[in-house]
Symmetry: C2
Subunit: 329 residues, 2 copies
């Protein structure tokens, strides 16, 4: 069992520690990197040894963050994980799992956190770990927010909320953004890097996806499809493909958006995105998949025609169910 901490106690543990190793999750995103480096800079400002370790390299986009990577120059005596909900998410490279075993503290905003660390500060209402640290670092750890720390934390707050677009962004998230900008976060420059830059390969994949766009059921369903060849030829990264799955649902009047991606074994990975009262999970579950109410997924083997037929059949059923329900209202 992990010990549940409040901010004050978590900060006290950090203040009492030295030679601190900060762990991020594999396939690092803006929140796990931003919170790791932001915390690292704050701990160094207190005169401590602190460094960051991650199983994977960071995406090119985040290169403006000058990360203090762990180089073995001190033997960690305190290990803290940020934005990592469970042990599998740490990855296997860079000897990371050795340190995970003795994680003293985990700071997270995933309600699903498995409690693998000795002590845990979880705030599921926070949109990002960086939102928690925006107050914890100055108010509890006693380190003023510098422009460098503010840039780190802004990165996580902005990326985890799709630039304040997702429902996870609350009034507190905006208060955190305001505090970070007052402390010198260069929001304009960072937003341009984080949200207005698409790789050549992503643009190519978008072109192919739009080329494949098909509408079904009186335009209530839109589908895009990328074959293995197209994915390989464009060289598009997986994270970029993930982004693309929001495209079909974003079209006016579309209640079910489908994205079919052919896997190396030839099968089709299908992402289902739905609007308000259409149940994405119900659609995916009947094909052996699962997920959330509005975002779910499944995998179908066989050729493209089979995959399309199978998923469209389930979409049709779910739309019919919704129509019935709406009539009853």
């Amino acid at each position: 069992m992990t010990e549940s901490l409040d901010r004050q106690t978590a900060a006290a543990r950090l203040r009492a520690a030295d030679d601190i190793l900060i762990l991020s999750h594999k396939n690092p995103d803006g929140d796990t990197i931003g919170s790791a480096l932001g915390l690292c800079l704050a701990l160094r400002a207190l005169g401590k040894n602190a460094a960051v370790l991650c199983s994977d390299p960071i995406p090119k986009m985040y290169e403006y963050l000058d990360i203090n990577w762990y180089d073995g120059s001190f033997e960690p005596s305190f290990v803290v994980a940020v934005d990592v909900a469970s042990i599998q998410l740490f990855g296997e490279n860079n000897n990371v799992q050795e340190y995970v075993k003795r994680a003293n503290l985990c700071i997270d905003h995933h309600g699903s956190n498995s409690g693998y660390a000795y002590a845990t500060l979880v705030e599921p209402q926070a949109a990002a770990v960086c939102e928690i640290l925006t107050d914890l670092i100055p108010d509890n750890l006693g380190v003023p927010l510098t422009p460098a720390i503010a840039n780190c934390l802004y990165t996580g707050v902005a990326t985890d909320t799709g630039c304040f677009r997702f429902t996870s962004a609350t009034a507190k998230t905006h208060l955190a953004a305001a505090r970070l900008m007052e402390a010198g976060a260069e929001a304009g420059r960072l937003n341009e890097i984080l949200f207005e830059c698409r790789s050549h390969s992503r643009i190519e994949a978008e072109r192919e996806a739009l080329e494949s766009l098909e509408y079904y059921f009186d335009d209530r369903c839109a589908m895009i499809c990328l074959t293995r060849d197209q994915i390989v030829q464009t060289g598009v990264a997986n994270a970029e493909l993930e982004d693309l799955t929001s495209l079909p649902r974003s079209i006016e009047g579309v209640e079910v958006g489908l994205t079919l991606r052919q896997q190396p074994d030839g099968s089709f990975k299908i992402s289902v995105r739905t609007s308000r009262d259409v149940d994405a999970c119900a659609i995916a579950r009947r094909l052996g998949g699962g997920g959330h109410n509005r975002a779910a997924g499944c995998e179908i083997s066989g050729n493209l025609d089979n995959a399309k037929r199978a998923i469209l059949q389930e979409v049709q059923k779910e739309l019919a169910r919704c129509d019935e329900e709406r009539e009853l209202e």
Copy 2:
């Protein structure tokens, strides 16, 4: 000469008035509509007659705002314009210009406001008029922010900043968003309507645009082009075409993004978008156009090949100038 007011005085004039007509600019956007309706609801909460008038209908996207349109049921004795920088921007329909002549007050955030009203409250640092009203309505007018008013004001704050992405969004903008969400603004629902919904015709235009994508000068320049036929066939709205002009510049490594749109007379309207130190205005100016440092435009008559050749020549010159300057640094 217009009289410059502070918030307190502007609010006092509104409190002293009744039978208030609120004017929005033509081709209305989220800020002019959101601030007009938000102010209207606040004035009605004070027991006053108040209504909104605009030269043009509002885009479908904003239909969730239940606007109190002026229906002639009272004779306006006080006219206030919101988010309108100059007289031409009011448009000509619905007898709007009759009321503009006797505008008692203008609330705006455009530093370029021409001062056409008897009195003006201009705050150029504000990202939106809705940002000003977020504090003015409760703090100066004395009307608590209701969820309905908060939804109006959130609409303007979010749309004028591209959902907090543009450099115009400051710490104060985020503080306003936080205050509006605390007052009941449904940010998640509104963001989905405002930022995650693209019309069929826009998607079609995007497809055609990506199809036309060309790179020049070692991929430092990207160009998309829509012919008159394509624009007419897709049925894409002008505002949506405006949005598209950010596409070529958003590609990784692209310093100059060009969008060519054929006009009804056959000439090409060219939008120039540049990154940090490339001067868009210098490029456009040499072809008889103008604009800002990073966003400018010009128009070239003649066929597509001519237009391309002319604009690319100027792009090349400007890139060469930048290279020289960078070498000197």
